[in-house]
Amino acid sequence: MKTVSTNNVSADRHDDHKPSGIGRWLFATNHKDIGTMYLVFSCIMFFIGGAMALAIRAELFRPGMQFFDPGFYNQMVTNHALVMIFGAVMPAFVGLANWMIPLQIGAPDMALPRMNNYSFWILPFAFTLLLGSLFTPSGGPAGGWTMYPPLSLQSGNSFPMMIFAVHLMGASSIMGAINVIVTILNMRAPGMSLLKLPLFCWTWLITAYLLIAVMPVLAGAVTMLLTDHYFGTSFFNPAGGGDPVMFQHIFWFFGHPEVYILILPAFGIVSEIIPTFSRKPMFGYDAMVYATASIAFLSFIVWAHHMFTVGMPLAGQMFFMMSTMLIAVPTGVKVFNWTTTMWKGSLSFEPPMLFALAFLFLFTIGGFSGLMLAIVPADYQYQDTYFVVAHFHYVLVPGAIFAIMAAVYYWLPKWTGTMYDMTLAKWHFWVSTVSVNVLFFPQHFLGLAGMPRRIPDYNVQFTDWNMVSSVGGFVFGFSQLVFVWVIIKAVRGGPPASAKVWDADMPGLEWSVPSPAPYHSFDTPPDVH
């Protein structure tokens, strides 16, 4: 642990010497170690949440009740969402931020390394609390991840466990986000002006801002639930002058920016990968930055499109419909810029590029169904049907999660120093991409035909597409084991990767350090041209 440093007093460890034993992980301050822990944690949560999803798909394979009672089904639905959002996707992005942001901006580490470790280690405990609630006498939370009162207030012992778990996740996210912002604003190498910042850093900077702005609002909302349940407040009780719809407003004021928290870093990843494998610089870099900022701004004024049917003034519906549709403009700018970047590029199709391309097409499908949902009169038909489920799974699975996989395939050689098994990775891509569409595309039809979400049983006319969807679900679920196998193989060894890794001329500073990246990336600020 102790190294003798002769030439400086300020940095105590600046060589490649790693601390040994379990202390390296428990007491970590190294951004790469913490990033690795985040990614491993996220992977575990991905499989736990995935197992819940498979339970749901197994139950829905046929009409009638097959395996569970409806209460347990509802617990699966609720926990699948909470685990995937707060346990899988968000920590994966934070893990990537931890690994890559210091490398991309030429910093030695994150700005606040100890707080970094704090924000990670809160998570396993938060999820112990949440998942532990499944084993209480009353079972886990079952009122949906949105926790709408009065339903959520009627949960049993799991109620406070869920609330406090959400508080812990929020604390972790806020600390993580503060760290990202401070790192990007304060730790950039000299010469790296904001408009030279890699787009992954830009999208994370804006994501972190969103996180700090809305996670406290979620904390406030669940605190009100807690006091309504235990201390007799009337926030959501009309008898006392409150309103259950008020919870939905506060929740979605958090919830809609949260949606962009789950996708903006994905935009950043795709904006790194597409130029590399097109061998062209990003088309419209500045426009990408401004589009990201516009999306973030708009995300604060669209929240009520999640609740068009609760009963709100017509003027409110009109406003939220129009503002929601406006988001299509900056998002369109992004999609066009990615496409234009590839225009006349010298394309090659390694696994990261394949996933980025799938993202481009499939996320756009999710974006379009979102536009359909934004139309108030149409939404009266779609609300709470499988169409909504299909919509947000398209933006989250072949959207956010494909981008995460693209990022792992893009940067894995930089982390391990070895090239992974390309053939296996391509298998993973093709099986995933086909099965994810088999899984989610039929859900559009089911929803338009009127199948409600969050119900364990359904009318027989929905059987065929549900069977197709379930088959897709199981194939998709199990094909993710290939992903893990590719990573494990690469960690255990393989052909060494060069510093540049990919056969392209990439400007990013992360490609200027050897593969694997040294334990401490930059002791002194690198030169930026």
């Binding site: 030439n7 940095a11 470790n117 406070p160 006392g240």
Partner: protein, 298 residues
């Protein structure tokens, strides 16, 4: 990497040692939350777990902050680290602003939308006809069922804005001034002025908390105004309660800064902890102004 290359714009980067405190802090939070869950659900042993959690939390603050203060006194933080601390603190305060925004939002929503709708305004005429046809709305209100400590049909009085709340406003605004005087004294190197005015600041803060506690006592015992007094009681106590909690934390932080001052910490150039606490104190002050206007006055 390249050790020979001299750094131009920055000092050499600083990366701290590994530290047990973050992990210790995570365990602490877990114990605290488990204790809270047990207390709320069944009481009994849960209170001891909760108590243990708070004990560990104090240990965490002493241990973690103590380490940082020691490192700082040893002079191993460069200007870049100092800037990171400042940025971190200001973003933390922004998150606090958003936390209060949720409760202010609830207050505005209840007053401007929920209560008028319950009384049949807008498109909600049927609500009034079917459910609460006697309900007039208005503010302050404990809702159509007049919820309160004695169940439905309770009456309550509010705390007049011109009484103790006005005094409390004066106290907090004055504490903002004394803190600024202390800051100027610190920068000018007048240590004795600094000590006196810093002490005045946290004394004013604790006096505020004391008066607020007396108000709460009066509200509970004489005015029928409690946490369960409908939406008025809910918003009133949650907003002023969280604010009072923040004032308490802020005053404790000021006290610690004062103790550090007495020990000769801080220089006219380098005093991040002082400024961080000062920002926090001004934030608490501004929230109070919002509370005074929207909760007590209007």
């Amino acid at each position: 990497m390249d050790h020979a290359q001299p750094a131009v714009a920055h000092d050499k980067y600083y990366v701290p040692h590994g530290s047990p405190w973050p992990f210790f802090g995570s365990v602490t939070l877990f114990i605290l939350m488990v204790g809270a869950v047990m207390t709320l659900e069944s009481g009994g042993i849960g209170q001891y777990v909760l108590g243990l959690g708070f004990l560990l939390l104090f240990g965490l603050f002493f241990g973690w902050f103590g380490t940082v203060i020691k490192e700082n006194q040893a002079g191993i933080f460069n200007m870049q680290v100092d800037r990171s601390f400042r940025m971190g603190m200001s973003w933390f305060i922004f998150s606090e602003v958003m936390f209060f925004a949720a409760f202010f939002g609830a207050l505005f929503y209840a007053r401007q939308l929920a209560l008028p709708w319950l009384s049949g305004e807008g498109a909600k005429h049927l609500t009034s006809v079917i459910l609460w046809h006697d309900f007039e709305g208005g503010w302050p209100s404990n809702g159509p069922a007049h919820l309160g400590p004695s169940g439905s049909g309770s009456t309550f009085e509010t705390i007049p804005a011109l009484g103790v709340p006005l005094i409390n406003t004066a106290l907090l605004l004055t504490s903002g001034v004394t803190l600024t005087v202390a800051h100027h004294a610190l920068r000018a190197g007048h240590r004795s002025v600094l000590k006196v005015f810093l002490a005045l600041t946290f004394l004013l803060g604790f006096l505020f908390v004391f008066l607020q506690a007396r108000e709460y006592h009066e509200a509970y015992t004489e005015l029928g105004l409690t946490l369960s007094t409908g939406i008025y009681g809910s918003t009133f106590f949650m907003l002023t309660g969280f604010h009072g909690f923040h004032v308490t934390i802020g005053a404790l932080m000021l006290l610690i800064i004062w103790l550090r001052t007495m020990n000769g910490h801080f220089t006219p150039q380098r005093h991040f902890a002082f400024e961080g606490v000062a920002w926090y104190w001004h934030f608490v002050d501004v929230v109070w102004l919002g509370l005074y206007i929207f909760v007590y006055w209007l």
